[in-house]
């Protein structure tokens, strides 16, 4: 079992805490003038997303978490699981609702996503930063308005709803920033 000593602690390190895979967000070395040194660590639980603080005696260790980020192609949703494939090896994994969570509304077949695997099982799925999606429903709006001000809601093929300029019509494809949920441009 691989472990990390407190001297190896740094932001981004993947560790096991209370049976859950976690990532270190912040590591602070504290030591009284004469006495015991500690590492005060901020940790995000990768399953629940919760951030907690924990203190370790300097010199102690944490178990390493077998967590890797890997680029995978989204294939399809069978109603229960979302299936992804490693493009080089054709290896497939199935992500459940917890892992996909909010990302579901951006997932378009064949897009390349970052799937975080823990012991080979998907833990989280991150969509591409920019996705190109078709508008399936939006009010007709006013023709000729190109100011971009105001805007209107539009439902996209994956189910996401974003605000688009009034000139965007049903059936068009647009680019959206998945990090902010904002419309970028017509595709």
């Amino acid at each position: 079992m691989a472990t990390y000593n407190t001297n190896e602690f740094k932001a981004g390190l993947k560790v096991m805490l209370d049976g859950d895979p976690c990532t270190i967000i912040e590591n602070q070395f504290v030591k009284p003038g004469k006495g015991q040194a500690f590492n005060r660590v901020k940790i995000r639980n990768l399953r629940t997303g919760r951030v907690i603080e924990r203190t370790f005696k300097s010199g102690d260790s944490m178990e390493a978490a077998d967590v890797i980020d890997t680029e995978m192609q989204y294939l399809y949703n069978d109603g229960e699981f979302w299936h992804f494939m490693q493009p080089e090896t054709y290896e497939q994994v199935a992500a459940d609702k917890n892992a996909v969570a909010e990302t579901a509304k951006w997932l378009k077949e064949q897009d390349i996503c970052v799937v975080t695997l823990w012991n080979g099982v998907p833990l989280t799925v991150e969509p591409p930063q920019i996705v190109t999606l078709k508008v399936t429903e939006t009010d007709p709006g006013v023709r000729g308005d190109t100011s971009g001000g105001g805007g209107k809601p539009a439902t996209l093929e994956t189910g996401a709803v974003v605000r688009v300029p009034l000139f965007v019509q049903t059936g068009e494809t647009i680019k959206v920033n998945t990090r902010t949920g904002e419309y970028i441009s017509r595709a």
Partner: protein, 331 residues
């Protein structure tokens, strides 16, 4: 030869901060010159090392004239022992500004190599030295940092005020319950010593509250944390030791100095036994210090102050790295 040309060669801080640092060092020297305290220099390399289990010395090897097979030298963790040898030889009050080295210490308030101001006052006890420390820091920070009236709290008063417990009588369960109530979750202390628990609460709960806009002294530590201080008999006995805090950062640590060679010898042995118990390498203790104490150390108090931390606070830096030209990652 392949050199890493990607490393950042520039200083970590601005020239303005370095100029202010230089002015602060000049003020320190002026302060002691006016008080007739002698500036001294002592060796950074020593064949002996600090025995304190919480201090790890850097070690290096000397080979050359007189030592054809080489011998170990340790970089000082503080200049305390040679300065006490000067005091025992009749130097009178002395001060030194020097580099000290502590392996394994790096972070916002730590750099493995740092600048210490250390001084000894013959005839002072720890209370009189606290007063002088406050005068020095106030003078050095003048015009840079507004300070309210000085606060003095005994170690016990600080724990009663901020943790609601008596640090001299509380047991592990009480310390653990206090930590839990304050949302502190700690691993690896279940079999920890009482001092580890005291250190946890001091660093996590009390320290951030100390020295807000003023100098706060903690004094009279548990006898188990005496380090090199005298222990005053009583119920409980306390170590005549103090620490100075400003804006939650520990700035200085001082002692009413232990002058008993037999007691010093026992503390060396206790330290070395503890080092062995927790799997740390043994180190050669300083026999010259014991000989000097046998000869006779004048009654005195001494204090070491972290100059980099003082510069950091004076110049509004967020970390020690902003107070020094080249912190360890640019050294």
């Amino acid at each position: 030869m392949k050199l890493d040309t990607h490393s950042d060669w520039r200083p970590a801080t601005s020239l303005e901060v370095l100029k202010r640092r230089a002015r602060m060092l000049a003020r320190i020297r002026g302060f002691f010159a006016r008080r007739n305290v002698l500036e001294v220099e002592t060796p950074i390399l020593s064949p002996t090392a600090a025995t304190d289990p919480h201090l790890q010395s850097f070690a290096t090897r000397y080979t050359g004239p007189g030592k054809p097979d080489g011998c170990m030298f340790y970089l000082q963790t503080s200049p305390e022992f040679p300065m006490k040898r000067l005091l025992a030889s009749g130097s009178g009050s002395i001060y030194q500004i020097c580099k000290a080295f502590r392996n394994g210490e790096a972070g916002r308030l730590h750099n493995p190599e740092f600048t210490l101001l250390e001084w000894y006052r013959v005839g002072f006890d720890h209370h009189r030295l606290m007063d002088e420390t406050a005068e020095l820091v106030t003078e050095v920070l003048e015009g840079q940092f507004r300070l309210g009236p000085v606060e003095k709290l005994s170690y016990r008063e600080a724990f009663l005020r901020y943790c609601g417990l008596d640090p001299h009588t509380a047991g592990t369960d009480e310390f653990a319950a206090c930590a839990r109530e304050r949302g502190i979750r700690v691993d690896g202390l279940s079999r920890g010593t009482l001092d580890s628990w005291r250190d946890l609460l001091l660093t996590h709960v009390i320290q951030p509250q100390l020295g807000k806009g003023r100098l706060t002294f903690l004094y009279d530590y548990p006898a188990s944390q005496a380090a090199l201080a005298r222990v005053r008999p009583g119920n409980p006995p306390v170590a005549e030791r103090f620490e100075l805090y400003l804006e939650g950062a520990e700035l200085a640590n001082g002692f009413h100095e232990l002058d008993n060679a037999g007691e010093q010898h026992r503390r060396f042995e206790r330290d070395l036994a503890r080092r062995k118990h927790i799997g740390l390498p043994g180190v050669p203790p300083d026999g010259s210090l014991l000989a000097a104490l046998e000869h006779g150390l004048p009654a005195c108090a001494g204090v070491a102050l972290g100059v980099d931390r003082l510069v950091m606070l004076a110049t509004g830096g967020a970390s020690l790295a902003e107070a020094m030209a080249f912190p360890i990652d640019r050294a």
